[in-house]
Each structure stands twice: as structure tokens, then as C-alpha cells.
Symmetry: C2
Subunit: 430 residues, 2 copies
Amino acid sequence: MAVQTVASNADTAASPVDLGPAAALSCRECGHRVPLGPVFACEECFGPLEIAYDFSAYDTEELRRRIEAGPANIWRYAPLLPVPADVATKPNINPGWTKLVKADNLARELGVTGGLYVKDDSGNPTHSFKDRVVAQALEAARAFGFTTLSCSSTGNLAGAVGAAAARAGFRSCVFIPHDLEQGKVVMAAVYGGELVGIEGNYDDVNRFCSELIGDPAGEGWGFVNVNLRPYYAEGSKTLAYEICEQLGWRLPDQIVVPIASGSQLTKIDKGLQELIKLGLVEDRPYKIFGAQAEGCSPVSTAFKAGHDVVRPQKPDTIAKSLAIGNPADGPYVLDIARRTGGAVEDVTDEQVVDAIRLLARTEGIFAETAGGVTVGVTRKLIENGVLDPALTTVVLNTGDGLKTLDAVAGTGLTATIRPNLDSFREAGLA
Amino acid sequence: MAVQTVASNADTAASPVDLGPAAALSCRECGHRVPLGPVFACEECFGPLEIAYDFSAYDTEELRRRIEAGPANIWRYAPLLPVPADVATKPNINPGWTKLVKADNLARELGVTGGLYVKDDSGNPTHSFKDRVVAQALEAARAFGFTTLSCSSTGNLAGAVGAAAARAGFRSCVFIPHDLEQGKVVMAAVYGGELVGIEGNYDDVNRFCSELIGDPAGEGWGFVNVNLRPYYAEGSKTLAYEICEQLGWRLPDQIVVPIASGSQLTKIDKGLQELIKLGLVEDRPYKIFGAQAEGCSPVSTAFKAGHDVVRPQKPDTIAKSLAIGNPADGPYVLDIARRTGGAVEDVTDEQVVDAIRLLARTEGIFAETAGGVTVGVTRKLIENGVLDPALTTVVLNTGDGLKTLDAVAGTGLTATIRPNLDSFREAGLA
């Protein structure tokens, strides 16, 4: 199936497309280059394709001014993304430029003295970082003449695809397991696209989508995380760009990133490297830390065991948005964590919930379970002496607590009183 | 009780506080002025107090530059708000500068040709416009030396107060009816403050809070929407400022605002008037339209009947965040709608749900029921020939659909299939 997909789509891609500084697709494994198109696997070695850019014409100071004068969303970085120069004028959900919160209360609790920041992606249009990657995939879909935006999903991605397609005037068709919780179905369905329940589990949904891409029935369909994956994945670079710009064009010393497929972490590293090469930030060391839930910790397990390969696991954790048991970019994550002097760590579901509460109580940020994973792992890494509390540290919150209310369902009233002052005093509230 | 509150708190307020351009409190009814302090009712006539400013020193172009160089949140307007000049350096949740979405798809559906925009306040930190008013009340609480932030609430306000207090290091104590839905309790409780259930309905909660303010037990407590109300209410002006700046320092021709207490609408008008007086926008006519749900439409009813007074109603609508049956600012809303050539209209719960779906389907924005009210009323006003589709129109969405999922609970899968292409084709999805 993969061979067929690569061949047929590469033909389609022969027509020239304007994706700004994106010059070609390049294999991460063997370096083989092919023209820009809706393909995701190398025809030579089946390695993952990623975007190769031509940034050679940029003058550093001019680029910095251009970025700073840009819109308050990811399109301020259009010169560094696979999008046309006029991308900001096209209908899209325009995510990004989310708050980098100086988390002084959390820093005190964790003993961080070097400056602690939370990059809070719950501020995106559908309240997760997925808006960044979907907005990017949408521009690729437009460039390739696709008319339907699609994906397989169990949560955040479905809403992001539905919303972006609605705004941009694309048809959308999202595939989910048929027995998903009703709340998640509503969140995905409200945008009015096709929402198709598949009688099977998430693996069945994914298998079906791969089949559909190779079939004439899937013609004109952009699957954001399959045939548009090389473009989609670049959206995560914007997290790195924003963090550095918001720090005053400075690299953080340490950054803690959640790991699902591992793509986000690898693209954040790619983004930081680009900023260094472009001269937008000083070239100095930074450490990238990966965060997983114990119930789905294949990369953390491999890191601790000193392995280069990642052994798949069957996920069992409340951090469902990170529950990928066989993460495609796992080996790259291991490589980056080791190369930068970082680490990969995991926390229990109980620690995830504690961390959600800790972040809410100290900074007023209500995070999804994935945010509980990064904050929990940050705490654990500090306790274990792995993360240096004297250095500037950025922790990612990639989603919104309103989407995983069940995780903190035990939280409730601190007191119940009758509506009078005596009852108030009796409860010790005065 | 009101007299006692006015007197005792006016004494406290004698010490000078730095709230920037705020010069005094002025009675909206009789114009009587008192020093800035935690008081909300005129000692002469019991009319509502509001902030009087001294803007006399401002040069228009210098002010415009100062605003444009400010942070991407409401504090860019610090020169026009009751806050100290260095407010942006203090710990707060920093709401605002939310997206003004050019809603071309929705415009086509509604037949608007003059430009239709949605001001989407679901992008605020706790995903409702309440963050604007709470952030403002918090600064007043800080100035007056309060250490506890409090409110009565049944929803959005509780979360906004909890989050802001957490970030700013205040104690919080939020009062809610004891039998609120579990989801809402969780959202309010997660920030870790006191969350007190009152055995009674929302009226009982409010009565108890008034009692507490007049009692020594409530000393040092800032009730954001009671004794801090004059400051709190000013937060809504920032919606007017942002809309005009985002339109390129231009007044919209028409603006559709939801009505709960009516405070938001009156302060938006105040904000627009200030911009005109300061020379930041051209002085030309604008129309303000108020939007209510039929099940709680006291202002709409009075408007249509040509009355100057508002007759209380017992609310029965899914738009719970607007369900104030006896809106304090109702008469002012009537006045503004009539003076500007606007109107007040209401829609049924069914129309609210349709409008939520319409906005999601056309623009990828998932609104709270209050957003369904404004979009639904906009549609109705166009159909009735009251709102001119050839003019620039801004519709407010003040909250997030994730908080009122029940409203669209009927939304679901468009198809269920087996994981194979035959089943896909049978369902007519190809």
C-alpha cells in the first residue's frame, strides 16, 4: 500500500505549487529528494519525508523585522513555513501566538530559580496545539487542489480539522471509533462536517484511512496526518519560534515537551536549529526533555534502558491525547534527548492529576491531561536532579482541561453551608 | 444594608490609591462624586457608581502609538482603564486582544454584504469575556489592599475568579448554589480556592453575599461584581477598544451585544464614546443592538413595548449565562439602543441552538449559548429588516461551546460504517 501511495501521489505533485520557502521533500533517513506533493514516505527507503527549505536569501535583521511586524498568529513565521507569502489573507483558523506565561508561583513550588514559563496552547482556536498543525496541513491541501480535509482521531484533532475545514470552505470527513464518549462526539460534530464512526478500535480506523488514501474514493482527500503529514508536522516548529521570540529572541535553556508520536518534539528541535542557523538567536546549548504517562511510556522506557529502538506498548493511561503505543518518531526523540543532554521521563496517572491541580492552583491554567504529564514530569526531573532549577525552563501545555474534565472529576465543593453568616462562621470560612 | 455598605466602605476608601487615569467615582444618576474606593452605590440617591476619568493630558497620536506598542492583551489600553501604569508587570491572567474574525461564510449565509465580523472572546484564558472584567476587578482589589477575591456565580464567573486569584496569589472564595451540575463545579473548583455551595437558589446566594459584605467577616474581601463592581464593569470597555483598533481605528456601523445585566452593552457604548472624544476614531453614527433569549427577555420585551422601565422575568432558557431576570442596567440599555438607532431582540432556545450550529459550520467557531443568542438575533434582525446587511457589523461571541455542550448534545455521527471501502461506498460517502 505504501509503495502505491508514494508512486501515484508523486505524479500528481509534478505540477508546481507555491509553498513559499519550501523547496522539496527530503527523506529524513536517506536524504533522497522529491518534488513537493502529497506524499509522506520515501520511494527509496520508506523513510519519513520532511520539508527542505531554501532560506538562503534571508537577511537576519530584515527577517526579524518582517516577523515582528507580522500578524499575532503563526503566519508571522510564514517566511519559515511551507506556505505562500500571502497566507495570512486566506481563510484559516490562524492559531498560535499563544501566551508564554511567566509561572512564578509554580516556580516557587518546584524550586525553580532560573525562570519558569508555561507555553499555554489552550489559547488556540479549538484549545489545543493541533490547530497549529492542521492550519498548516490546510494550506498544503489548498496548494494541492484537495477539496476534502480528513483525519482519523479520537479527540483534539477531530475538532481542529472540523473547525479549519469549516472556516476555509473545505468539505471535512473525520473518522473516529464508533463508540467514542458522547462529549467528544459532540465537540467533533458541531462543525457540521461528515463525522463517521468506524465499527472497530482506533487501529481499525487508521487501517481504513490508509486503505482509503490508496483508493480512487479517496481522490481529492487530504488526510492531515497521513498524506499531508510532512506539511502538517511543520506546524509544531511554530512553538519553538514563538517561545524564542517571546523570550526576546533567546533560546530557553531547557524545554519540556509531551510525547505522543514524537513529531512535536522533533519539530521543536528543528525549529530551534533553524533559528540558530538564521542568526535569529544566539547559538548556545539547550536541552530538550520528553514527557510521557507511565501507562504509555515506550520512549521513556527505551531512554532509560539506553536503547535506540522503541518497543511498542499497549496504552493504558488517562492521558489519551498522548496514548500512542508505537510512536513513529520515537527513535528521533531518543536521539535529540541524548544529543542535547535532555532526558525522557514518565509519571503515573495519579501524578498527572496532581500536576493538573498544581498548575491550576498556582497559575490559574486549567490543563488537559497532556499538560499534567509535562508539569508532572518537570517536577519529577527536578526532584531527581536531572533538570536544573537554576536554568530558564519552558513547559508546554498543549491542551485544555475542559476537554478532559473526567481526570479531575473528584474535585468539588470545599464546603456546603446554609445562606446565613452563622453557618458561614461554623464552616470556618471567616 | 445598602446604606451601611456605602458608609463603611467610603471611609476605607479615603486613602489615596493609584488607579491610573481613574479620578473618582461618579453617580450615573445624579453625578455625585466620591473618592475611589470599594463602593458601588451613590450615598445621595443609591444610583450606580461608575469611574470618572481624567484623560485631559492625552495627545491623540501619542496615545495611539502607546496603545499599539502595548502588550497583546487588555493592558494595551491601560491609559484608558482604572489601573496603574505598570499594570502589565503585575501577576494577572491578562485577557483580551482576542480575534476579530472576518466571517465571510456566515456573511454569505445571512446576506450581509457590508462586512461581518465575530469578536470571539472564547479565546480568553478561561474562555469567556468574564476574564476581562475579573482582571480589572483584581487590580482594584490589589489597590484597595484586599486579600480575598470573591463572587457569587453559576458558571463562567466562578472559573474566571478562581483562575485570576490563583495567578495573582489572592485567596478566592466563590459562592454557588450547592446543587450545580458536577461539570460546572469541577471547572470552578480546579483552581484550588474555596468553593462554597449554598443550600438555596442563586437568589439566596446573592442575598448571602450582600450580607457578608456588610459583616466584619467579609472584611478584606473583594466581591468582583458587588463592592468592586464599578471597576469590574470597566473591563467591558476593552471589547469596544479592541473592535475599533482591529478594524483599523474605525467604528463598526452596527454591533450586536448579548444582554445579561446589561452592563456589557452600556460599557461598550461608553468605550466607543471615549474613543470618539479622544479622537482615536472618526465621530460618526453607530448602532448598538441588544440580544436576549426569549426565555429571559425583560429588556427586549420592554424595548418592543416602548417602555422605559424593565419588568423582571423568571428566566427559563438554555442561555444560562444571560439568565438575569431583573437586569440592573436594563433601562440604560433601552436608552442606548434607542439613542443609537439600534434595537433589542430575542430568539427562542431552538433558534439559539441553530445559530450555534450555523456559526460552527460556517466559521469553525464553537460558541457558548450566549454566542448562539447574538448570532440568532443578528439573523432575525436582518430578516426583519432592522439590521442593515450593507453595513459593517460586529457580533459578539462571549463564551465557549465546551462549557455548554448540553445545548448541542443532539449533534452526533453522520454515519457509522464497518472498516472497509465497500461499507464506505454503501454509506454514500465517496
